[in-house]
């Protein structure tokens, strides 16, 4: 009994915090590696629709992004509230989509130029007319692989607005 009682008299030993930096560094490296810096700021509202039968878009270097949606409140005064196309950092007309795709395609490595996917990030309240125009432009420049980017979820949630 006395054997156990002996230890009790001192204070609680302080928890060693020497390994705290290591733990923090580990977390830091994790977040540093998974971070993707955004390359363009969104100027349009972009609430993507939900879909359940999605496929992951692997290999970011093979993707060209096109954003469509209503201009955000900041740009509403200048550009109106009808859905617009955003290419890189600026608003564009549907007729400019083809040139943009060709430009982006020329920037990619030779071996990737034939396997590019166009990711359409479209706000769920946009009208199909604009999308059809984009699709028509994409067909003209032979960029036939498209991906309608969506969130994972129940597709029927798109219907209630």
């Amino acid at each position: 009994m006395s054997k156990f009682a002996k230890k009790k008299d001192g204070d609680l030993p302080a928890v060693s915090t020497a390994s705290l930096p290591d733990i923090v560094f580990m977390l830091l490296f994790f977040f540093m590696t998974v971070t993707v810096m955004k390359d363009s700021t969104l100027k349009v509202e972009n609430t993507l629709p939900n879909a359940s039968e999605t496929k992951k878009l692997e290999k970011k270097d093979r993707v060209i992004y096109i954003y469509v949606g209503k201009p955000t409140s900041q740009y509403e005064k200048v550009f109106g509230s009808e859905p617009k196309i955003q290419l890189n950092d600026k608003f564009a007309a549907p007729s400019e989509v083809g040139d943009y795709i060709l430009q982006e395609r020329a920037k990619k490595a030779q071996e990737l130029q034939n396997v590019l996917t166009t990711a359409l990030k479209v706000d769920k309240n946009a009208n199909m007319g604009l999308i059809s125009d984009i699709k028509q432009e994409l067909r003209k420049v032979n960029a036939l692989k498209v991906n309608y980017t969506t969130y994972e979820g129940d597709a029927f949630m798109n219907l209630n607005r």
Partner: protein, 202 residues
Amino acid sequence: MARRAGAPEVNAGSMADIAFLLLIFFLVTTTIETDAGLDRMLPPIEPPDTDVVIKEKNIFQVNINKNGQLLADEELVDLKSLRAKAMAFLDNGGDGTCTYCKGRRNAESSDNPSKAIISLKNDRETKYGTYITVQNELVGAYNDLRNREAQRLFGRDFTDMEAEYLNPETSSSVKDELKEKVKRIQDLFPQKLSEAETSTSN
């Protein structure tokens, strides 16, 4: 020679603070990207040289109007029942050449899954969200049928196999094996989903 003590140790006590600062910065800026979506192929712009004759019964027409209402095979249908209807059409096997079909073999509907075509048409004022829902249901119909066959042949879901096949981290030996299986299932129910140009009227 009297050896001096080494250089005084640098106090590393504030290292944790610096690391925390960086950690918080990256925590805040990180957005785990949600890049997933429906893959589709657009039709090439030049029309095929030869006109292909397709029987009317092999086409499943889906029309979406500007209010989001759905007309499938000349009937007004609810979005929720579209998947079942599309599956029934694809799985019909009307001329009896399809050995794996479990449909009703209705002579008025599609002959064979390899001949069955789903044609999707939408209005210019259709909401994008509705369009995606319809696309999702049609792709879902294909996936459900493919899953059924994959379960029967390989005891595994098709979507699961395809995801593993497309994953860049899968080793090439596994990939080769999967490629054949994926191809086989895709051939059983080839995805023929045509997107007609939008109607400008009404």
